[in-house]
Amino acid sequence: MKLTILFFLIVAQTGFSQIVEDTTLIAPVKISNRRTVSSTTQTKIDTILIDGYLTNSLDDLLSETTPVFVKSLGRGALSTVSFRGTSASHTDVLWNGMSVKSPMLGQVDFSQFPVYFMDEVSLSHGGSSIEQTSGALGGAISLENKVDWKNKLSGRVLTGYGSYNTLNNFAQINLGSSKIQSKTRLFSTYSKNDFEFRNKNIADINPSTGKLEYPTQKNNQADYHQYGILQELYKRIGDNYEFSGSYWFQNNKRSLPRLNTYEGDDFSNQNTQTEQTHRAILKITKYGKKSSAELASGIVYSNTNYTLENFVNGLGLLKAIDSRSSYATFYNKISYNYNLNKKNTLKFNYNLNYHKVRSEERINKTGFDADRLEHLLFAHWNRKWNSRLKSDVMIRMNRIDKMNLPIIPYLGLSYLASKKHHLSIKTSVTRNYRQPTLNDLYWQPGGNINLLPEEGISGDLGIEHQLKYKKLSLTSELTFFQSQIKNWIIWLPTVQGFWQPDNIQNVSNRGLEVHLAGDWKFKNILFNFNSNYAYTLSTNQGDPEIWGEESIGKQLPYVPVHSFNLFLKTSYKGFFMSYAHNSYSERFTTATNDISRRDWLYPYFMNSIYFGKELTLKKSTLIIELKTYNLFNEEYRSVLGRPMPGRNYLLTLMFKF
């Protein structure tokens, strides 16, 4: 019993206690993106939302249930995530504690992360990411796999078919006892993705009227196929030890569609990308009376090939670009948590990571090999001053490639203002550094070894309120943030035609995030909702000599000032309906915020609706669901020159036991 309580205390912050997942969809699980009571600004995406987006990739889940901005080049295409007006490379992604972003690109393509493989997804906004990682100036996203020790045999099997020849398959089996557990998951997603669209970026002249007409085209060369396996193994040894191991393999192959201004040779400009990624992590945890210690070791090995092929008369299909890159990350972490007394908790951890990368372009004969050794030291002191006031002090010290980075400090306070109304206030301040990526430093041609780390200073002020009234429960949160990023690295073209990075941007970000979630039971009908609004000002405060006077004080390209999303679900006697909405205000594509209709990214509103029925058969359930994306069949663009699909459907059948 004692152990259980201690166990709870230690891991509560990572949400280990939430073992109620895999309950049926109709169960009155509270739907809210819960945030733990601490000075940090964190969002945990509720299981009900994760289940709702099961067949999607992570970018869809994030754009429709959290305040982050998702920039997507289209269905199945590159999709990046940024927090609070920062860039995609300021977002770190951790899988079971291990950073899985590429040491070359410093970012992650979220379209390649299947929600099938996630049990928990949580976000650390701004400086709160210090608790997980360093250098995530925007924030960090943690993907966790969790064990259910009560499980004996359970699983789910899903099959789905959708528009544009889309085929989804997923199977999961969980087996075990209170001592040992195994979870195996397999998935495959294929789509020909050849939707029709009216191409308004090109025109043909009607020979009889002389008028311009937009042709209807197919989104050719946009097919994608992903498949993968995730195997987890958990073992309890004695009362004090726990072992876990996870292995994730994924293969992605996709064609990258051409811009919709392309009218060249049909057999030219063919872009293909394949990726194979292996990720594995082993953990041993020892729980003591007042402490816990953990040893974790992991590896990521990833291989990416990208080719651009053109048809050459007499020679056939020739590669104009044949790029192969691979990286290996070795991750080692030792952590120690200690409850000094009822008021003070201490946490320490040390990481020894090694990255090795190789990049090669076989046509132009460019490439580089590079490696990086990281020593990362972290300490956290949490103190409860009284029943209302708590403080967090965190420090990170990084030594990267024999260079000591400046100390990364974090200071935070949380105050329970009203116990009755569950009203709490929290505030934090931090200074963070992000090291240039290996591509930034060594990419050929263009890499710049003289780059400095990016420096960010940020502060948060938040209010959190929980309300329970009869059958209504409601969580509302309001967070103000302000940050300044100096020496922001930007890649710019050069006279020679290649791009080169430099520390030339200085950005001021400020704004607020509003989160509202809850549920309400009215007779037999259950309503769940989750909603976010973010107001983000992200302005260029760079050197006018470089940026030109007209860019100073302007919103950064592709950062919307207003963003909003809503997920609403109602269930009644096994029937359920979900509605998802996501909107962004207009976005600029230039540093000067030119209002040109040609480059205008007008306000974006996207709606989806899901209907389903759940049938309970003894101990198992059968769920049939029809998802309708782009409900109003909008013709739209979300970046320049990329076609987007109209209304499309996915029918899924899932069997759970």
Binding site: G264, L315, A320, I363, R598, E635
Partner: protein, 371 residues
């Protein structure tokens, strides 16, 4: 309870907002009165190549008499974007041909009202268009390893001139600018190459090649009928090599290099070789954006025995990207690409390099083309 009502109102509010705002107005982008103009005087087009993969190329028009600037005229007149990477433009009587590299096409517009009147499509990676006669034009190409022969009346591809050297190591030959001499066409192979190809424009055949320094990027014929070739020498880390930039003078009949001037600074990457009234002009700047001393516009007499050492116009604080000379009066049109991601500037200087006018154009302005 009040609280409860409040929440209900919020939820109702949400739903109501959605119903009102749930339509994206995609046609708003094109829903405007198209620009109607008729510019009959000798104006200047400024071509803005835009950023690779952004489809944000544009066309500006400048009236040298009134100093009126019309930006984004292709879009404003036709309601269509120009495309991805506008590489070059060629005026033939009342028509202008705009080569859009990464869109694999050439747009044809009327030079007075800028109306889109045709296109040549199905190209691979087109760079320049050159007219042999009324029924034949050549289009050079970065990746096709051939020069595409088109019929400018029907705008269809009629032939291809194979220029592949079957080198398995590099994509050769890529072709760029084209200049006519007698029945020949000279074209430079810039990307990872060091050749000037000679094509017989009656036979549509590759007949000879001249080896020059690494990466010949521009060339001109002077009044003595000598071919001048400017090679940038590649850049540091370039797999094809990195050498000093050179300026070579070639006899087009014998195809012998008569003289080669070598630039002292290895970091120098000169470009945009032009000729006017017996003088050569080019942009002298650093490779890969590197700052080098004395960068700017250089001038050199065609009979000079050495390279100039100082600019006639320093580029201090500017990023000179395109240089063209008005054949009518010798005015210089120099474009400044700034940091390449925002709108650039065009500078108009008289022949004494006195600034007459400067104005904002589109993103990455690369060429000024005279009607």
């Amino acid at each position: 309870m009040k609280y409860f009502d409040y929440i209900k109102t919020i939820i109702q509010g949400f739903l109501l907002t959605l119903l009102i705002t749930s339509c994206i107005d995609d046609d708003a982008v094109r829903n405007f009165n198209l620009l109607e103009v008729n510019k009959t005087n000798d104006g200047i087009f400024i071509l803005n190549e835009g950023n690779f993969n952004y489809s944000n190329a544009s066309l500006s028009y400048y009236d040298p008499e009134t100093k009126e600037v019309l930006n984004d005229v292709f879009f404003n007149v036709n309601g269509l974007p120009l495309g991805d990477v506008a590489q070059s433009m060629n005026v033939q009587d009342s028509l202008a041909y705009i080569v859009i590299n990464n869109s694999g096409k050439v747009y044809i517009i009327n030079t007075n009202n800028f109306k889109f009147i045709g296109k040549i499509t199905g190209l691979t990676s087109p760079r320049y268009i050159h007219f042999i006669n009324d029924h034949k034009a050549y289009i050079s190409d970065l990746y096709a390893r051939s020069i595409t022969v088109v019929d400018p009346v029907s705008n269809v591809i009629i032939d291809r001139i194979n220029v592949s050297n079957k080198n398995p190591n590099f994509n050769q030959h890529s072709t760029e600018q084209m200049l006519a001499y007698k029945n020949l066409v000279f074209t430079n192979c810039w990307s990872l190459d060091n050749k000037i190809l000679v094509i017989d424009s009656q036979q549509d055949k590759l007949i000879d090649s001249i080896e020059v320094s690494i990466q010949p990027n521009s060339m001109v014929f002077d009044s003595n009928n000598k071919l001048w070739v400017l090679s940038d020498g590649g850049f540091s880390g370039n797999s094809y090599g990195h050498s000093h930039a050179t300026l070579s003078r070639i006899d087009p009949d014998t195809r012998i290099i008569e003289q080669t001037f070598i630039f002292d600074n290895l970091d120098a990457s000169p470009s945009n070789l032009r000729v006017h009234n017996g003088k050569l002009f080019f942009i002298y700047s650093g490779s890969g954006g590197a700052n080098i001393p004395n960068s700017g516009i250089f001038q050199m007499d065609i009979n000079s025995t050495e390279l100039p050492q100082t600019p006639v116009l320093a580029s201090t604080g500017k990023n000179f990207y395109g240089l063209d000379i008005n054949p009518l009066n010798g005015d210089f049109f120099i474009t400044d690409a700034g940091n390449y991601t925002e709108r650039g500037i065009a500078y108009r200087y008289d022949k004494e390099f006195k600034l007459i006018h400067s104005f904002k154009v589109g993103i990455t302005p690369n060429k000024s083309v005279f009607k």
